[in-house]
């Protein structure tokens, strides 16, 4: 480090190359920090739990043909009976939607009958007393519905139910003191109270878009069996029997009633496939960002290798002179590593400011989260290490220049 002053003096005489590489490092750091932040956010979303035990779980979408909204009740009952009797099936339920399905019902919830604004936004799952066991969500307080508490309803005019099971996140939002069990809530515009009889540990909403992130774990389960001819069956197979149930369940439904449509695409899916489809966009974005990062890092490393190689070639004689005047190979190596480190430090200093500035812009323009400084710090260290790694080969080549080079005339 004792050679910093003359190295800085020399760099001042090579401003163009120095500034270009420093700027390249700065831009790379700014983009890579934000890209990795986005990748991390996306990967966190891809991995976030639904609250259900997702293994051995599958879904079938079915639509009865030529039927009104209030005529599906008996047919759904027959379907559920057939599904639950299949040897590989542990339980099954008919629902308006389920986590990660992509479409569902949402509403506001109040705790005060006179309140104009809702206290929380939530999704609503309509199903019978088999919802909890089929989803395998954990009941942390209260109880499940009894079968006699489940009512049938036309989806166009669902009555206000007298009871509800809520997710813990929603319970805590509505009653932050932890006393939600047994308390009333008012769903939508109704004046009629619905009592919380159970709380499940976690249950995600059907959507995975950014706009639903604020209420991702706010869910209501209502003891209502909708009579719509369009329904989704969530089926839990016995452990290890999912593959058999995937074949047997659609066949069983067709056997009960042939007048139905089960879409060939996405009509029958394991939950692993459902999760895969739901987060395809996030995974794609993470892959794209990763490729951008790798390309940028590669280009920056190549730039450093290129510039240093050029400088080594240009300064061959100078290196020989330094060796003749007493520099060891290590001194020459250290010279180029230090020179690169100085450029790198200037680059990452500018880059860190750019990264934060870029993130602030993304925050205001695209409602992105604030970039944690840890990303910037890790980026700074990574870029400096990349720089030192990239310069190593040309610097080693420089250190091998013979001192006799000082006497060469060209």
């Amino acid at each position: 480090m004792m050679h910093i002053k003359p190295i800085l003096a020399a760099l001042k005489r090579h401003k163009a190359g120095t500034i270009l590489i420093a700027l390249q490092i700065a831009l790379t750091l700014a983009i890579v920090c934000n890209a990795i932040f986005i990748i991390h956010q996306r990967l966190e979303r891809v991995q976030r739990p639904t609250g259900m035990v997702e293994t051995d779980l599958m879904a079938i979408h079915s639509a009865f043909v030529g039927m009104g909204d209030n005529q599906g009740g008996p047919l759904i009952k027959a379907d559920l009976q057939a599904l639950r009797q299949l040897p590989g099936v542990q339980d099954a339920v008919s629902l308006n939607s389920y986590p990660l399905r992509g479409g569902g019902w949402s509403t506001g919830v109040r705790t005060d009958v006179d309140a104009k604004d809702s206290k929380a936004h939530t999704t609503q799952y309509f199903g019978d007393d088999h919802v909890l066991s089929t989803m395998a969500v954990r009941l942390v307080a209260g109880r499940n519905f009894r079968s006699d508490e489940v009512v049938e309803a036309d989806p166009r005019s669902v009555p206000d139910p007298s009871m509800v099971i809520v997710s813990k996140a929603l319970a805590d939002k509505l009653y932050p003191d932890g006393s939600a069990l047994g308390k009333p809530i008012y769903i939508g515009d109704t004046k009629k109270p619905t009592t919380i009889i159970g709380i499940v540990e976690r249950l995600g909403v059907p959507w995975n878009a950014m706009w639903s992130d604020d209420f991702y774990e706010n869910s209501l389960i209502l003891p209502v069996q909708l009579t719509s001819p369009y329904t989704s069956y969530l089926i839990r197979a016995k452990p290890g029997q999912l593959a058999e149930v995937m074949k047997a369940a659609p066949a069983a439904l067709v056997k009960v009633n042939r007048l139905r449509v089960i879409p060939s695409e996405r009509g029958v899916r394991t939950f692993a496939q459902i999760r895969d489809d739901a987060y395809k966009g996030d995974r794609g974005m993470a892959i794209l960002m990763s490729v951008v990062c790798l390309v940028l890092l590669g280009v920056t490393a190549a730039g450093i290798v290129g510039l240093t190689s050029f400088w080594v070639g240009q300064r061959r004689k100078q290196i020989g002179v330094r060796r003749a005047l007493g520099a060891t190979k290590r001194d020459i190596l250290s010279y180029f590593l230090t020179e690169n480190l100085l450029i790198g430090v200037a680059g990452v200093a500018i880059g860190a400011l750019l990264a934060i500035g870029m993130n602030l812009w993304l925050v205001t323009q695209f409602e992105m989260a604030r970039l944690s400084l840890v990303y910037v710090l890790v980026g700074v260290v990574a870029l400096l290490l990349l720089g030192q790694g990239a310069v190593l080969a040309p610097a080693l080549r420089a250190s091998r220049v013979s001192p006799v080079e000082a006497t060469r005339s060209v």
């Binding site: 003096a9 002179v321 330094r322 005047l325 007493g326 060891t328 001192p403 006799v404 006497t407 005339s409």
Partner: protein
């Protein structure tokens, strides 16, 4: 100070062996000013690069300041170059990106000397060559003669035991060459040991002793009659 005995340097390729130095013997005593002369391709520069530990040799022995150098590793050779040898090159070999002060400082930094001592030595040696006022100038802003004086200041700053000069006036006009030569003579009078490689009989005439090389071997100057006469003529015309 410098003693080479039966020294040889062979450049080998797949098909041919070329002897740059063969059974080469020379002995330079402390405080001597020796001119090593010879025609182009005779081995003068090879001798200088080996003497300056810039290159290794193939056979024989070389003692520098009492140390046999053939078994030294690269780091030890660098340390000896730095502490015991001062180089003056024909092309000056200043570092263009550094100013005069920083150029003279280069060997002192490699010695790990403290900043205050470095500064004192740099200014002393620049004053000695008459360029203290040009310390902040870059080489490109100086004349050839001034650049060579800076190179001499750089060589002197480390207080070397031996000064090796390779055609020190080769790139200078007559007037500048005279100035540089007078400076070298002055340095010699102050006690320095100087070995100067040159093909210029006038410069050779100003050294205390001439060592003439032909085909990689030291020969009697009389074996090169034209050069012999030129040196004698130069000595006869010398004002001293």
């Amino acid at each position: 100070m410098l003693k080479m005995t039966h020294l040889s340097k062979v450049y080998r390729t797949e098909v041919v062996e070329t002897y740059a130095l063969r059974d080469f013997n020379i002995n330079v005593n402390e405080g001597e000013f020796v001119a090593v002369t010879g025609p182009s391709g005779s081995g003068k520069t090879t001798f200088l690069t080996i003497a300056g530990l810039l290159e290794t040799f193939t056979g024989g022995q070389y003692h520098l300041d009492g140390v046999e150098v053939s078994n030294l590793n690269d780091n030890e050779r660098s340390r000896i170059r730095n502490e015991k040898i001062g180089f003056i090159f024909q092309a000056f070999n200043l570092i263009p990106d550094l100013n005069v002060f920083d150029n003279v400082e280069v060997p002192l930094r490699y010695r790990g000397m403290k900043a205050a001592e470095r500064k004192e030595r740099i200014m002393n040696s620049l004053e000695r060559v008459g360029l203290a006022s040009r310390a902040k100038h870059y080489p490109a802003e100086l004349s050839g003669g001034q650049q060579q004086r800076v190179a001499i200041a750089r060589a002197l700053a480390g207080s070397p035991r031996l000064l090796l000069a390779d055609e020190p006036t080769g790139n200078l006009d007559t007037q500048m060459a005279r100035g540089v030569m007078e400076l070298l003579e002055e340095i010699h009078r102050e006690g320095a040991t100087i070995v100067m490689v040159t093909h210029d009989p006038e410069l050779a005439a100003r050294a205390q002793r001439n060592v003439h090389i032909i085909d990689g071997q030291v020969v009697d100057l009389a074996e090169d009659p034209r050069f012999h006469h030129a040196v004698h003529a130069a000595r006869a015309n010398s004002p001293a």
